[in-house]
Amino acid sequence: MNTNIGIFAAEYYLPPKKKALSDIFRDEEMPAEPLAASVDFKKDIGIEAVHVAGDETAASLAINAAKRAIAHSGIDPQEIDFIIDFTSIPEDYVAPTWSAAGLVQREVGATRAFATAINTGGCASYQTTLKVACSLLSANERYQTALLIAGDKTPEFNHNYYPITVVSDGGSAVILKKNVERRRILGVEVATLGRLHDIWVIPGIHNRDPKDIGGKFPKWLHVCGDIARFNKELIPMNLFMFRKVMLGVLKQVGKKFEDVSYFIYPTFSAWDLKAFCEAFKVPKEKIFLDGLHHGHLQETDMVLDYVDAINAGRIKDGDLVMLTTNGAGFSWGATLVQH
C-alpha cells in the first residue's frame, strides 16, 4: 500500500449543551447485572458530563465537523474524490438504505465525489474506514483526496452504555491526502470476532417490544447489551485482540512496540484506560487521557483525542502514533501514523 497517504486535516464538532453524569444516572435505567471488572460503574467511570445534541441532527454534527476540517485544510471541496461516512450508531434515517454521506456531499459542495458509508466496526469503524480509504487511494491513481465523516446522536435517554461507558453526541471529520510528508498512515490492522455479533444490538422498530414505549425509561432506539455474555465472552478476549491488532500493524510496517511514541485510545472510562495501560505497560505520559472530560464519542473518540493530543503538544514531529480501539460487532483496530 502507498505509505504516502496522510491525515491532512482532522476536526471535530461538539454540541455546546452538556448533561451531567448524575442527571444521566437519574434519568436512565441501570441494568441489574454486575460488571465483571471490580469497579463501581457510577463512581469510577471518570466522566463527569456528556455533550447532548438537542435539536441538532446527527448529520448536522457531521456536517459541522466536515466544514471545519475543510476550512482548516484550505482545500477546495471539489478536490474531494470520495466521502465515507463512518458513523457507528443509528442515523437520521434507516441504514443501510440511507447514510449521511450524500447529505454531507451536498452541504460541503463536494460535487466531484462519490459518497458512501461503512457500517461495520462499531467504535472501531474509523480503523475499518481508514483501511478501505487508504486502499482506494492507493489503488486508484485518480483518487487524491478523501473526506471521512461521522455524526453521532444518541436518543435523549440512552447515554448510559452500561457496562462500558456513558456516551456523548458529536461529529468528526478527517481529510486524507496522497503524497504528503507528515502524519503518514503507515498501516492499519482490523480484526473481528463475528461470534460476538449479537452481544450489543439495537432491535429496531420492526422487532421492538411495545411495552418498551413510554414510561420512566423510554427505550426507542436504545442499545441492548447482553451483560452476561459481555462478561463471559468479550472481556476475556478483549486485551488479546488489542494485542493482535497492535502487533499486526507493527509487523506490517516493520516496527516494534517500543517504537511507538504515543497512544490514542478510546475514552470509555478511567478504569478501562487504566487496564489498557497496565496490560501493555504504557506510561501515562504516552497516552492521551484528557478526553474523558468529553465522555465517550463512539468512533469519533479516535479523531477527537488525536486532534486534542496534537493541539496540546503531546504528539510531536517524528512521533510514531498508535491509534487503537475496539467496537461492537465485535471489532478491534490499530493504525500507525508517522508524524
Binding site: P96, T97, S135, V190, L221, G329
Partner: protein
C-alpha cells in the same frame, strides 16, 4: 502493474416460494392496470418463508465458498452490500459479523456499506478489489448480502409503481491473482442532493416511533427529474475511456431489474447491449437490490453468450443517489 482480482464464484440464494405481482398488488391494496403491468414487466418475485436476511446471506456465502473451492478459513475480508433493513439496526449491528461466525471465516475482518441503492454492489466490488490489490496479507474476499423486503412494502411507490421487490441473498468470492473473470475497474458518481430520493423515514432518529413511516419511500417527482440515464451514460463512458475501450468493445451489459421501463430507457445508451437475461430475470424475480447484478451475471455466464476475453459492463443509476459502472473481462 497491479495483480488482477478475479471472480472465483458467484451465487444467488433465492427463496423457493414465489408470489405473483397481481397477488402482491391486491394484498397491498393497489390497483394493477395493464399499463402499469406492462411498464413494470415483472410477473412474480421470490419471497422468503420465515428465513432471515442474514440466514439467507449465510447460505449464499457457504455455497459461494464451496463453489469456489475456498476453505472459509482462507477468507481475509467479508464485504457486505445489503440495502434493506436487517434483523437489528445497522450500523450498530451488521450481518457480516454473523456471516463470519457462521461460515467459519475465523481470520477475516468485515466491512459493510450503506446508502447506494443497487450500486452498493459496485461499491463493494470496487473496495474489495482495492483491499486485495493494496494489502499484501489480503488475498481472498467474500462479498455477501441478504435483502428482505419490509412486509407490505413490496410495491415501491404505490401511487405510481416503479418496481416490485423480492427477497434474495447473493455472494461473490474474489481472489487476487485468480484467472477467469477479472474485475478491471469501477467508476462511481454520487449526487448528494438525491440522498433522500429513496429512503426509509421511520424507525430512526428523525421519526423514531412511527411504524407507518417504516417503509421504503420513493420521491417519484425527484426520481423522474434526475437525469439518471445521462448520468449513467457519463459514468460508463468515463470508465470505458479510462480502459481505452469503446462501447463497441463491450459484449454485454448487466443492470438492475427495476422495471421494463427502466431497461427500455437504458438500452439506447448501451447500444441495445443490456443482456436479454436481465429482462427474463426481471420478469421472474423482480428487483432484488444488489443481488440483481449477481443473478444477471450468473445467467449471462450460463447463457453461453459471452466468451473468454469478452468485456461485460455492470451499470446502475442507484435510484439517483449513486451511479456506478464496473468493467469485467470474462
Amino acid at each position: 502493474m497491479k495483480e488482477p482480482v478475479g471472480i472465483l464464484s458467484a451465487v444467488c440464494h433465492l427463496p423457493a416460494h414465489q408470489r405473483t405481482v397481481k397477488d402482491l398488488f391486491q394484498e397491498e391494496g393497489i390497483g394493477l392496470s395493464d399499463e402499469v403491468a406492462s411498464r413494470l414487466g415483472i410477473q412474480q418475485v421470490p419471497i422468503r418463508n420465515g428465513e432471515t436476511a442474514s440466514n439467507m446471506a449465510v447460505a449464499a456465502a457457504r455455497e459461494a465458498l464451496q463453489k469456489a473451492g475456498v476453505n472459509p478459513a482462507q477468507v481475509d475480508v467479508i464485504i457486505e452490500y445489503s440495502i434493506l433493513p436487517q434483523e437489528y439496526l445497522v450500523p450498530v449491528w451488521n450481518m457480516s459479523n454473523k456471516v463470519q461466525a457462521e461460515v467459519g471465516a475465523g481470520k477475516s475482518f468485515v466491512v459493510g456499506f450503506s446508502g447506494n441503492g443497487a450500486s452498493n454492489f459496485l461499491v463493494a466490488l470496487n473496495c474489495g478489489v482495492a483491499l486485495l490489490q493494496e494489502n499484501e496479507n489480503l488475498k481472498t474476499a467474500l462479498l455477501v448480502t441478504g435483502d428482505v423486503t419490509i412486509p407490505g412494502n413490496r410495491v415501491l411507490n404505490p401511487a405510481d409503481p416503479v418496481t416490485v421487490l423480492g427477497d434474495a441473498a447473493s455472494a461473490v468470492v474474489l481472489r487476487r491473482g485468480a484467472s477467469g473473470s477479472v474485475v478491471m475497474d469501477t467508476e462511481l458518481s454520487s449526487e448528494g442532493a438525491n440522498h433522500d430520493i429513496c429512503y426509509i423515514p421511520g424507525g430512526s432518529l428523525v421519526h423514531p416511533d412511527d411504524l407507518g413511516l417504516y417503509r421504503l419511500e420513493l420521491d417519484k417527482a425527484r426520481y423522474d427529474a434526475f437525469p439518471r440515464v445521462a448520468t449513467l451514460q457519463k459514468v460508463s463512458r468515463t470508465l470505458l475511456d479510462r480502459s481505452g475501450l469503446q462501447l463497441d468493445d463491450v459484449a454485454s451489459v448487466v443492470s438492475p431489474n427495476i422495471s421494463a421501463e427502466d431497461h427500455q430507457q437504458l438500452q439506447p445508451i448501451f447500444g441495445g447491449k443490456i443482456a436479454g437475461v436481465c429482462a427474463s430475470n426481471r420478469e421472474t424475480h423482480g428487483h432484488l437490490q444488489g443481488s440483481d447484478f449477481v443473478l444477471n451475471y450468473l445467467s449471462l455466464m450460463e447463457s453461453g453468450s459471452v466468451c473468454p476475453g469478452d468485456y461485460v459492463l455492470a451499470a446502475s443509476h442507484g435510484m439517483g443517489a449513486m451511479a456506478g459502472a464496473s468493467l469485467i473481462r470474462c
